[in-house]
Symmetry: C2
Subunit: 389 residues, 2 copies
């Protein structure tokens, strides 16, 4: 297997992008990444696109071909592959691209992630998000995406004494980080007390526990490390990629206070990289709800089970803390355009490892981890990136 | 790159499967393939799933995780990847699985394709099919999937003198083949005159020019050829895989009487296999409309441009002819559950190369080709299979 590098990144502002269509944001992120990598579209061998539900959000399937076309790559007739795994769709695109280069099949690949969620009504958005859970055993009975995570939060509180104040500390920290990120959907701090007083969505989760509905796109250019130096003085290396599945429905799992798929994918990725949690300088994790970040930092081994919430309240996961989590603002504050999210995580890690994260910069960051979840944890994908040699 | 074998195939009957849910048909096909390959689910390293639009057909995204779960593979937590490229979704899953084995990443992989299209109304089905074309430049103005292919048919008639009688000969031949396939949706012959008199859908295309709306699933087990003999006395080898893109909208193409993506993917696949069209014993091509098969047999090089329709009327593409096309009955008669179609084509080629196609058997079949199209030709995927050594 060849070593794989990231030589370019691009990202649109996340938010309610009324003036841009799906294809426009996809192309903006892609061009920014091509420009950053200093390559032309003629150098590209293939495209991988992460997208969850454009068929329902904008009446358009066949997103792979669309992106190839609107990126001006249709004249090269290069293959374009759309992948989907709910909230992990963007990470899945990165993973497929990684293997296509590691195997020697492709040299240079564009990975794009995009979602346009605000062109339809909020109720329908909720239906679509919930379609990553189990339609026959959960959503058909009225379970929504937030309500399934509320079950996990309530059980986590019961088993580990996790508190309202601790949940709020996750969102407050991510809003603080987001305030430093010019591409974030929400660029202002929110006091923990305001989070704890925000309207209940599904008890115990409140509005400010939930990631927002967002439009946005992100892209990365990946290539064989053997040629990366031609394009970039400081290529970032993808040193591990791992993926795991779990049951689609929550009721089939032994525990709902952990995500087994995250534990397995995290463990495999660290084995592949030959490192442990203590070697990681920063991580972007899947905080679609505050409880999700707490479970993630536990399941990835940054903190023992049951201690993720306290660690967050104690400031261990903030910029400057032991293990900074979601320096971009995370899904909560940077925004969560579903298919773009996993790619946006990679963009943030690359900027950190390049030392270009400005006010969010983690000093001497050498190794970063990105973690994405599909559904309520039925898919998890972990990538580990390092400063290239 | 390692050699890749197919050691097991499974397929449900195609049709209006009122008694089976999406997950049931997916699992039936998968279990049949596992049984055929004589392996247990514990041997599987990964799953790839082709599905176009379960989000809209059955309110369920995250089909990769769903299939992993319902195949009983969630306890192994193995990675599952859903891919989508409109009508080429199934072929795209085969292709991703092929590369995952050729690269050495996986040893044994299940590929599934499935779609459940009859649980909603026909008008909505038409909307969904059309979402593989260009939403902003075609379907929003009222263009439907059949109407776009009708434009191609009319222009083909204008340029090459293709006739109504010739179009009907495609469907009549595929229904004749389908009558020999116990899994086909339509298992009776239809006279060409009846096809020519069927109701107009979009002039010049009539009802019996169009593939039906179908439910169904198909699965194949693929593995490293180095271990294939452990499981199968007669493994079939995947000797080539190629994919190409073209513009999403018809109006952007230089010609609408050919599919450039098909030409490029076909040429690349034959180069990879080191063969030409004359070396191929049979082919499954994407006959979602009669005109599509005519363009496909020309674009793949079986007949010169403009002569595909006459060749079909002359019987050259029938079982026993020069190059038998769609011995399964094709999309027209076997049925077209979108995500399953590309996998079902592989199932048919494997059965033919094993000499197990019963009344449809092509004598001494050694090399077969499968061709899938997404949208109106904006994605094309070609696989070439051969009798394993």
């Amino acid at each position: 297997m060849k070593k794989v590098a990231i030589i370019g990144v691009g990202i649109t502002p996340f938010g309610e992008l009324w003036d841009d269509s799906f294809r426009e944001i996809g192309i903006k992120a892609g061009f920014e990444a091509l420009h950053d990598a200093n390559i032309s579209s003629d150098d590209i061998d293939a495209i991988y696109v992460g997208n969850m539900s454009a068929g329902r959000f904008i009446d358009q399937e066949h997103i792979g071909a669309l992106i190839a076309d609107y990126a001006g790559l249709a004249h090269n007739n290069i293959p374009s592959t759309r992948v989907e795994a709910g909230g992990a769709s963007g990470a899945l695109a990165v993973r497929q691209a990684y293997f296509s280069i590691a195997s020697g099949m492709n040299e240079i690949v564009v990975v794009g992630g995009a979602e346009k969620m605000t062109d339809i009504g909020d109720v329908e958005v909720n239906d679509i998000q919930s379609s990553a859970a189990d339609q026959e055993w959960e959503t058909v009975f009225g379970a929504t995406y937030p309500s399934l995570f509320a079950l996990m939060a309530r059980r986590h509180m019961h088993e580990y004494g996790t508190t309202r104040e601790q949940l709020s500390s996750v969102a407050a920290k991510n809003h603080r980080h987001g305030s430093l990120n010019p591409k974030a959907q929400f660029r202002r701090e929110i006091k923990p007390e305001a989070i704890s007083r925000s309207p209940v969505v599904s008890d115990p989760l409140r509005m400010l526990d939930c990631a927002p509905i967002s439009d946005g796109a992100a892209a990365v250019i990946m290539c064989d490390m053997g040629i990366a130096k031609k394009y970039s003085e400081h290529p970032v290396e993808v040193i591990a990629s791992a993926q795991a599945s779990d049951t689609l429905a929550l009721n089939q799992r032994k525990s709902i206070t952990e995500m087994l798929a995250t534990k397995i994918a995290g463990k495999k990725a660290m084995e592949m990289a030959g490192i442990g949690p203590a070697d990681i300088d920063l991580a972007e994790v899947h905080d679609n709800f505050t409880i999700s970040e707490i479970m993630a930092v536990e399941d990835l081994g940054f903190f023992p089970k049951g201690e993720g919430a306290k660690a967050t309240l104690d400031g261990k996961t903030t910029i400057g803390g032991d293990i900074p989590i979601n320096t971009s603002g995370g899904l909560k504050a940077r925004g969560d355009p579903i298919g773009a999210t996993g790619v946006a995580q990679i963009v943030e890690i690359v900027e950190q490892l390049r030392g270009k994260a400005d006010k969010r910069q983690i000093k001497d960051a050498k190794i970063g981890l990105a973690h994405s979840v599909g559904g309520t944890g039925s898919s998890a994908i972990v990538h580990i990136l390092g400063v290239g040699q």
